[in-house]
Symmetry: C2
Subunit: 253 residues, 2 copies
């Protein structure tokens, strides 16, 4: 099959390096660009079409000269996942589908002035759509705004992209439990915390939310600088099937 | 005196080139980066401090590694003038003054989650503040959101930065009329239009709003691709004291 996923960004809202932070992770990212983490997003190659999940990168118009981008799967409308739309919308002679959750709260004035963006087809929970011969299903997540994960399937291949979230809603967990996932990419923003965080997984919650699911490779994304610093000491302690995503990382099948 | 102004961006909200536009101005900008127009903003060097007017550039953290940026003069909170704050706010160990209009409507969730940004000192109309030995006055403009121009004075030098606006409120016009301006930088987004536009100057309105003011050099900024195309034929027809700003242009005194 012609499936390819490229990580356009694997950072949290602050990105790495964090402005004015001089922790070891931020210093390393300043010294070596391969440790930089931009806003969390991926590029999907789906049978010849290019779609992105999330639009937090601010250079989308340069990354994807028209007509190379077919559409956007939006997990939610927080700034670090949607800010690239603020400029991209002012293109011309084009209509770009943005399929996201049905969130009544506008992000800045995007709904009011959508420009070339077409927000008219929000997902229902567990709705399935076809892009070429690839099946996409939107699954609800736990976040401070309406937020969807995406499950991408073709033939025997299955990949889930689950961010931003802290744990999983029970209905999503039960739905995912029926799947055999080759890859599961999840929000893991923080090192293990004394208590479960409110809007994002720490390492503990990211691992526990996947217990009982059938996952070949579990990838962490949406990584903050404190987790990067923690990983410098502890990456080897993670289970063998867990990997840390990085900007530019590619999955091909 | 130690005054220097650098144009960080001279484009309108769509910037130049416009996404998916193949007009002569957009094609030229793609071929030659010196014709690119990024989000409208300037850098001010004020007696050793660096302040920017507007924060639409999305690479502020790279342009101004801390502590090189002292503060932000915000004309208003439309996306193309404020979107860079969405990321910059997540810096650490720093408090960055953002002096703008008293606009009760939040831009996305900036006021709710200001991070390192300090919005606590909005301007009153015609209020004057000192930055080092430079005097800054905020003057109201005509726009669809509360919007301020800034007049910068030191000794005999005077520079006004007036964008976004269509024409001038009478009280601002009368206030400016008393000044002898070395430079007046104004919103001029469009070529001459059959009727006066609603939120931005076209060439006709930009020129007429400055009639009767004492201006040595009048600079146009916030330039859209249609104006750039018009200028290819008509720049020579403009009055001799009118200049077109470009990204990277520097004014020193």
């Amino acid at each position: 099959m012609a499936f390819k996923l490229t990580f356009l960004g694997t950072g949290d809202s602050a990105q790495v390096p964090v402005y004015n932070c001089y922790c070891p992770a931020c210093e390393l990212a300043r010294q070596n660009a391969s440790f930089v983490r931009k806003p969390c997003s991926v590029l999907l190659h789906l049978d010849g079409q290019q779609w992105i999940i999330d639009s937090g990168r601010m250079d989308l118009s340069e990354l994807f000269p028209a007509p190379s981008l077919h559409g956007i799967l939006q997990t939610h409308y927080h700034a670090d996942h949607a800010q690239g739309l603020l400029h991209l919308r002012w293109g011309v002679n084009l209509r770009l589908p943005v399929w996201g959750p049905d969130d009544p709260v506008d992000f800045a004035d995007l709904y009011k002035h959508p420009g070339i963006l077409d927000f008219s087809q929000p997902w229902e929970e567990f709705e399935t759509r076809k892009i070429q011969n690839v099946t996409i299903t939107a699954v609800p997540l736990n976040h401070s705004r309406p937020c969807l994960g995406y499950v991408i399937e073709k033939d025997q291949f299955c990949l889930a992209y689950l961010t931003d979230t802290v744990g999983l809603p029970e209905r999503t967990y039960q739905w995912l439990k029926q799947k055999k996932m080759n890859y599961c990419i999840v929000d893991c923003s923080m090192p293990p915390m004394p208590t479960t965080p409110r809007n994002h997984n720490d390492v503990t919650t990211a691992l526990s939310m996947c217990e009982g699911l059938h996952i070949d490779k579990l990838l962490f994304t949406h990584i903050g600088h404190e987790l990067d610093e923690w990983l410098m000491q502890h990456e080897r302690d993670l289970p063998a099937h867990v990997f840390i995503a990085y900007d530019g990382m590619v999955i091909t099948v």
